[in-house]
């Protein structure tokens, strides 16, 4: 594994943060959000700020931009020095001058970070209009030039496009163009690739590195993804509960972490080397899918539209106690397949047999009694539980609908709380009283309460921090062992797939490009697309959990051990 090897010995310090404290407005007694942060970033350096959600990474960056949410957070101490300018005490007008000109920022979700009703070219140009005296035509040509620098295709057309007309990667390029057009000294990138596909992520990381190299920009890169850190960082600061617990050059941090917390964080990173498949069960398959097709649209008021083929000719089977992973990038059709199987949408053609019944073309009414055989856990635990219902009510609703007496459902719910490692009194509480990981446990308990034969997990751990992710994956493993449930696991994350799947099915643009045992597909991919995906996975040559490099591309566990 090659790390970046920049010589920053004589580089000037662009940003110097000392003893920075941030607290909740109006609650001086409450625990501080930031508790004495020290941070130095030199010109040309990429400084990664890592930590789990709520550790204060984003607050630190917003502080440096002077963009703390008004009325909610405030700086209570310390200093932020941007090449001699004190930011914590700068007046709003002064701060506005500094933004974009000296210090710029890009955000996680380029769709929501761009204004949907303004043309993207205008949004870049606005920076010039605010900060320079360029004429309209000069501003325009400089904008076009910047858009070319970030390698956007067909620049004239994209200039007049609206954000929703661009791809995720193009939107993030627009954000980067906007941030760097005035050549700022410091670029703050807050999870800029988290919402992107791995192949797009790779391109954006390369672009940021290229721009940094060309302009000598200092980059403060916030991420929770250790793989990304391994690829790009010069220096890493690890944050936990508002403090920086460890700071080290990248190689030192990955090979010889000093703090327990850092070790824990690194050890939670799932290994890209697939686990060995479990022994095949003798029982008949729980689910068989044959030649499943799903075409969206095709209607139209004035003319017949062609329709989008979201899934074509998908076939697979899962035996009890085994897990099939569907991996692919956004738009590959993996969620479409999951929704067809659950009959949340109606497949255009093909067969889906669950627990002996062909369900693909049953009417809603006919399907109803079979619903309890298959259950789903969704990606976002913040939105998949009814906020006005207690946990008990969410857990009992399904079984009661299927005729379980309420008392029996309640006592089963209590057992489930123990199973997912939550206190029994959690049943009387509401979803907002739990953390993301706890909520996902509740969502899993809700699915399991129906005693399903098939559990579908649609990106069920993608929204969680790595350490929580590891716990939830363990929980799913336990449940599978106890109940012998078959699992369909939809994910974009090859590391997660490697950890939990027995078989893997790789999808691209609605088609299955490769399927087979996880160990075979992930360590010796036959299809170019699978290989592209694996090669784009950041930090794939580093074994985080064991603090060492992998000698060669990930191979099957056991073969290397």
């Amino acid at each position: 594994m090659e790390f970046t090897s920049k010589d920053l010995g004589n580089a000037r310090t662009v940003l110097k943060i000392r003893g920075l404290k941030v607290g909740l407005v109006g609650r001086p007694g409450a625990a501080p959000v930031l508790d004495g942060i020290d941070l130095d970033i030199r010109a040309g350096e990429t400084h990664c700020l890592v930590g789990e959600s709520g550790s204060g990474k984003s607050v630190t960056s917003l502080c440096a931009m002077g963009l703390l949410p008004r009325g909610a957070l405030e700086t209570t101490g310390g200093s932020i020095d941007l090449e001699g300018i004190e930011i914590t005490t700068a007046r709003p007008a002064r701060m506005r001058e500094l933004r974009a000109r000296r210090i710029a920022m890009i955000f996680q979700e380029p769709m929501t970070a761009l204004n949907p009703v303004l043309r993207v070219g205008e949004q870049i140009e606005e920076v010039l209009n605010m900060h320079t005296d360029l004429s309209q035509s000069e501003a325009r040509s400089r904008t076009i030039d910047m858009m070319e620098q970030v390698h956007l295709p067909d620049v004239q057309r994209i200039y007049s496009a609206f954000p929703h007309q661009l791809s995720g990667g193009q939107r993030q390029r627009i954000m980067i163009a906007m941030a760097l057009i005035l050549d700022p000294d410091l670029l703050i990138a807050d999870e800029p690739t988290t919402a992107l596909d791995v192949t797009t992520q790779l391109q954006i990381l390369k672009l940021i590195a290229e721009m940094q190299h060309r302009h000598g920009t200092a980059v403060l890169f916030i991420t929770h993804d250790m793989g990304v850190v391994a690829e790009i960082a010069d220096t890493v600061s690890v944050m936990q509960s508002g403090r920086i617990v460890e700071r080290a050059p990248i190689r030192d941090l990955l090979t010889n972490p000093q703090e327990t917390y850092t070790r824990k964080l690194l050890q939670a990173v799932p290994n890209l080397a697939p686990r060995a498949a479990r022994g095949a069960a003798a029982a008949p398959d729980v689910i068989t899918v044959k030649a499943l097709d799903m075409t969206y649209g095709g209607g139209g008021f004035f003319r017949k539209a062609a329709g989008v083929k979201a899934a074509q000719d998908v076939s697979f089977a899962i035996a009890p106690g085994r897990t099939l992973g569907i991996v692919g990038e956004s738009g590959s059709g993996k969620s479409t397949v999951a929704r067809c199987i659950l009959r949340l949408i109606d497949p255009t053609a093909g067969q889906v047999t669950v627990a002996g019944t062909e369900i693909a073309h049953l009417s809603r009414r006919q399907l109803q009694p079979h619903r309890k055989h298959f259950q789903i856990v969704f990606q976002d635990p913040y939105r998949s539980l009814n906020p006005r219902w207690t946990v008990a009510r969410s857990l009992c609703e399904g079984p009661v609908n299927f005729g379980t007496p309420r008392e029996a459902a309640m006592s089963h719910a209590a057992e489930l709380m123990a199973l997912v490692d939550l206190p029994r009194d959690a049943l009387d509480r509401y979803p907002h009283q739990f953390s993301g990981g706890q909520r996902q446990r509740i969502a899993i308990a809700r699915a399991v309460a129906m005693k399903p034969d098939l559990l579908v997990a649609d990106e069920a751990v993608s929204a969680l921090d790595v350490s929580v992710q590891a716990q939830v994956l363990d929980l799913l493993d336990d449940i599978q062992e106890k109940f012998g449930v078959a699992m369909l696991f939809i994910t974009h994350d090859l590391r997660v797939a490697a950890q939990i799947c027995d078989e893997v099915l790789v999808m691209q643009k609605g088609r299955v490009v490769e399927q087979g045992p996880a160990a075979a597909v992930l360590s010796d991919p036959a299809h170019t697309y699978t290989r592209t995906l694996i090669e784009a996975a950041p930090g794939r040559l580093w074994d985080f959990a064991n603090f060492r490099a992998l000698d060669h591309a990930p191979a099957r566990q056991g073969a290397t051990a």
Partner: protein
Amino acid sequence: MFVYILKRVLATIPVMLIVAIFVFLLLRLTPGDPAAILAGDAATPAQLERIRDRLGLNDPLLTQFFTWMGQLLRGDLGVSLLSNTSVAGMLADRLGPTINIALMTITISVALAVPMGVIAAWRHRTWVDFLVMSFSVLGFSVPVFVIGYILIQIFAIELRWVPVQGYKSPGDGFGAFFSRAILPSLTLATIYIALIARMTRASMLEVLGEDYIRTARAKGVRENVVLFRHALRNAAVPILTIIGTGFALLISGVVVTESVFNIPGIGRLTVDAILARDYPVIQAMILLTAGIYVFVNLLVDVSYSFFDPRIRY
């Protein structure tokens, strides 16, 4: 864009057709003889027969409908039973004052309410916000006629700035029109200011929490540009909806204000027609009101697409 507008326009046709059928049936399906209803209590059998003949009530229902629709499309709305003049003419006379007052009201409302809502959202949970919200509650709660009489008392009777009542069309000079229209407009505007300010504030609060607002600030954009260029356009759709509905309501529901200020508008025409059971006028009023609602909604739908490019499908 053109296709979008065309679709919207075409979609109004079935709505108007259903309204027309309803209005047609209103008279025919009312219990009793339409001729007797039209002629009133004191009609002789000969008069009834004449009316039946004139209205073609002896023809089959479908024939009657097509005859009626034919007249409608030519702009013939029948003859008022009360004044024996053409209903279309009566409406034309009365529509002017109502529309002029409505336009003035909505202009005042939007000009005041939108900035109020924007500032209240910007200064959320401060005294400014509190003030705007208090006014909003007040605007909702005080009855229209009370506001009308208070304004008359202050500006017409005490200060003598404007006449107490009456109406002059803008054709008679803008000053004459304005001095008579300002008090009724202000009276009507209070509730719409309250409504629009509230909607603007709610919609802006939501938009100001969006990521792209943070992006705009991160670019060093000035606050007024953040508010009016980045936020307000995104907040526009619900605000436009409420303005559109408000305008349509204004045209059909200004009875009290027209009475208080003695304005010869369609609100009073409607009340008079209902009290006198002047069916042709009532029918025409239903058609007109429905037509205005449909038209204003069409305008609102089309204007969405100017504010939000994602709606141009």
